[in-house]
């Protein structure tokens, strides 16, 4: 049980996928201009990420290893992610049309979010069991959403700040992300 808790804290805070491992920076820079968009993108990504990391684990150990085709893992994982995105879209459309209109435009972008593929490949590299993979990906997904929402709130305050002309936009966003990453480094040593 403590092992699972350590994996969760590790992937959520200590090795946060956005701020410590540089995965998923495109949505991090792209959709955090607006708080509501960041929240919607965070939830959509979190769901697809957990689903596709678990499915990738099953496909790798149930299909690729017995067939001796482990070198095809990138191609198989990207197909699984694209299908998970499609399934989520169909599911949302039939169950909650309201949620579908809110998240709809962000869903296709998730396929090219490197955090999703990154979590699947990282959990494979650490040779985790199925349960550990699920916990690891939940931690990564919550960590991604947390950072996205926190950063969106931070950027709203940044809008009112007087920033030198040539630092407006992307440069100051990167610098503030760096300071946030510095704060997350304080978690180092809590797990593994």
């Amino acid at each position: 049980m403590t092992d699972l808790a350590l994996i969760l804290i590790g992937s959520l805070l200590v090795n946060n996928f956005v701020l410590a491992q540089f995965l998923g920076l495109c949505p991090f820079m792209g959709v955090t201009r607006d708080y509501d968009a960041a929240l919607a993108m965070g939830f959509a990504t979190a769901f697809v990420l957990t689903l596709s990391a678990s499915l990738s684990h099953l496909a790798y150990h149930g299909l690729l290893v017995p067939l001796g085709l482990t070198y095809l893992n990138i191609i198989v994982f990207i197909v699984i992610i694209a299908s998970a995105v499609q399934l989520t879209e169909l599911f949302l459309r039939s169950v909650s049309p309201l949620l579908h209109t809110a998240l709809g435009i962000y869903l296709p972008l998730i396929t090219t979010n490197c955090a999703v593929l990154g979590v699947a490949l990282t959990s494979l590299g650490q040779s985790l069991s199925f349960l550990e993979t699920v916990v690891f990906s939940i931690g990564a997904a919550v960590g991604f959403t947390l950072v996205l929402v926190l950063f969106a709130a931070l950027r709203e305050r940044l809008e009112g700040a007087s920033v030198p002309q040539s630092f407006r936009g992307a440069p100051i966003t990167l610098v503030s992300a760096g300071i946030m990453s510095l704060a997350f480094m304080g978690f180092a040593g809590f797990a593994d």
Partner: protein
Amino acid sequence: MSTFSRAAITHNPAWVQLLGLCPLLAVSNNVVNALGLSLASAFVLFGSNCTISMIRAWIPSFARLPCFVLIIATFTTCTVLLLQAFAFDLYLRIALFVQIIVTNCMIVGRIEAFASKQPLAKTILDAAGTACGFAIALLALGAIRELIGHGTLFAGMELLFGPTAASWQLTFNVSEQGLLIATLPPGAFIIAGLALGFGNALLKKFRSRQPSNNREPS
């Protein structure tokens, strides 16, 4: 030639369009990692762009994105296997980010915007320009971070070029330890932000000196 310089400089994928930011920040902690990933990305970019440009007439437009992604994934798998065969020690350092080239939005973006619509000759120029632009950005950031963080340049080149390259390392004894923060994750964000900001300031100064009729068409 204008296609090349447009893709490499005025529309630099990393600095101007902020595409492929994840690998840019993650593997720029020293020059050899940066060079390894630039070569790997260049191979995938070039291969997938040329392939798609050649078969673009047969790709149905409703299924184009899955086709693009599968072709990119194939070239990425080839790159992974090539690196494992010829530069295994370097591969171990940057393994995750070589595999993640599949989801690099720079590559999908170039294919969607250029290679799927243009003939092969133009696509080759555009792909080479984009690859050069990405390599310039990655190597510049890698050099700055290695210099500040460790006080060295070109350390560990033997991982890519064989044992003779071990003597290429330049050491600048600015301080004994170097400023370690530059090689850690926060340093990547902060240095990239500062570089981009000062780059903007320089560019503006340069532009204001030139007569206004010389402006680039965007």
